[in-house]
Amino acid sequence: MMCRTGQDQGPEPSGKENEPAATDAEFSALLEDSAEELYESAPCGYLSTLMDGTVAKINNTLLDWIGLEREAVVGRKRFADLLSVGGKLYHETHFAPLLRMQGELRGIALELRTRGGGRLPVLVSSAVKQSSEGEPLLIRTTVFDASDRRAYEAELLRRQQEAEKARAEAEAARAEAETARLQAEADRARLADAFTVLQKSLLPDALPAVPGLEAAAYYHTASPDRLGGDFYDLFPVAGDRWAFFLGDVSGKGPQAAAVTSLTRYTLRAAALHDPEPATALRTLNTVLHERYAGGGDPRYCTAIFGVLGPGPEGGITVRLASGGHTPALILRSGGRAEYLPTPGGLLVGILPTAPFVTAETVLAPGDTMLLYTDGLTEARTGDARDSLYGEDALLDFAAEHAPSSPHTTVAALTTLLEGLGDGVNDDTALLALGVPADDPAHRTPPPDGAP
């Protein structure tokens, strides 16, 4: 009745009832039909073998990959026969023993032999089916095409190799830069060595020992890579007389060093010919003027040249001439300090004939005469480095230290220069000549001593 009633309710609802029924039918048909179909045509290979590997069942997908007929495989080949030589070896030495031990293996990468001798990279998973008593019965195996994955891995590997290559190239470039840096350092060191040797050639290695005279010298290089143009020397001329000079060549660097060299050897040669100070400077003036005038690049020097001779009462006479150089400073044994003025002497080398001014003094025992270049008096002082140390400051400094032996004087000035630091932006040469005090422990000012 119920059914009837239901049927009686009209044909329209029956249409509605038919639709789910048809879908269910299609769905179950799909399930029923596809069980075998799914096995045969699945997107992966299926394989069942006996425990010795003999193929018992194989699906179409896998047959298609290996390019063999079912009859040629089932009962005739073992799974290992389907693999590449390397795969077969791996299967026998690792895969099969592990599978027997563990009962299951997943995702092992192997290669199948395909139709025409090619190879197909695959990922193989196997599981052993056991009887209810736990006896192994057969092996079920799925085989997935791994060529996409292999390509992906190859791509990864290629990228990794590229990255490695780039890294190696960067490393090589870095090593090359390091080599260049080391080379540049070596070059710089060689150049600095050459500069040092050249600089030394412009100065005496050591001051000679002069009887009755104490001598001390110092050279301060403001910049190690700018050859300085300061120079000094002390050497014998004739009999018991000695000559000395100290000066400063204009400019810096190799050109200045060349002028310094010319100056030094000209003065030495001139002194041997005629040790009269102004004459030696005139000779130098002529040489420098002929060599450098009119070239648009004036080269000149300032210099004091002098001659030492025996003086009264153990003293030494000094006769010197100046060409545009700062005056000699004398620290008297009595504690005074005074300049030995030489006003009007001209820079050496700028005019064909130049006036040079001569002055004389006597160094008594305990007196010290200091020659210096303008690196000292032109040193910038003050926080702003905007004022110069100057000659007045140097005179005060000398007066504070007098009396002072040549070595003590040079040591005190060395300390002063170090204190001025980077305010000393020019090279500085110091040459101090003095007569040792008779008895430094009981030195007394002479009657006409301190003012």
């Binding site: 400063d248 204009s250 400019g251 810096k252 005038a293 009119g294 070239g295 648009g296 690049d297 004036p298 000149y300 300032t302 060409g323 545009g324 150089h325 700062t326 006003p343 009007g344 002497g345 001209l346 820079l347 700028i350 005019l351 130049a354 006036p355 303008d374 032109e378 480095r385 905007d386 110069l388 932006n425 020019d426």
Partner: protein
């Protein structure tokens, strides 16, 4: 350290360079380059106005000597105007006050035809 500034004024008697700032190792080259470029005719006088000079070391002196060489090569004279006291002291120390013509100041432009400007005011 004040930067060196050079301004040029062309007068009939010759160019005037007004130099302000510091003539030291780092900056004196600028004055040398400026003077080397100057067109000078025989009989002209190059006046270097040092009224604004704050500092001058030996490289500055060399630049002034280079200017003198350049002027002499062109048959011209050179004069230094308004030399500050400390620079005058250095010039005197090295004897160059005997070599350069020193003027109290750079003077005014005497206008066209003022050909005697270079001789005026010699100290």
């Amino acid at each position: 350290m004040s930067p060196l500034k050079i301004t040029r004024q062309d007068r009939a008697a010759g160019p005037v360079l007004h130099v302000t700032g510091e003539l030291d190792y780092d900056q004196a080259a600028a004055l040398r380059e400026e003077t080397e470029r100057l067109p000078l005719r025989p009989g002209q006088c190059l006046v270097i106005d040092l009224a604004g000079l704050e500092f001058c070391d030996s490289t500055g002196i060399t630049a002034l000597l280079a200017a003198r060489q350049h002027a002499q090569a062109a048959g011209a004279e050179v004069a230094l105007a308004a030399v500050p006291a400390n620079t005058l002291r250095i010039l005197t120390l090295v004897g160059l006050h005997q070599v350069f013509t020193l003027l109290p100041d750079a003077g005014a432009d005497t206008g066209a035809g003022g050909g005697t400007g270079g001789d005026a005011g010699t100290a």
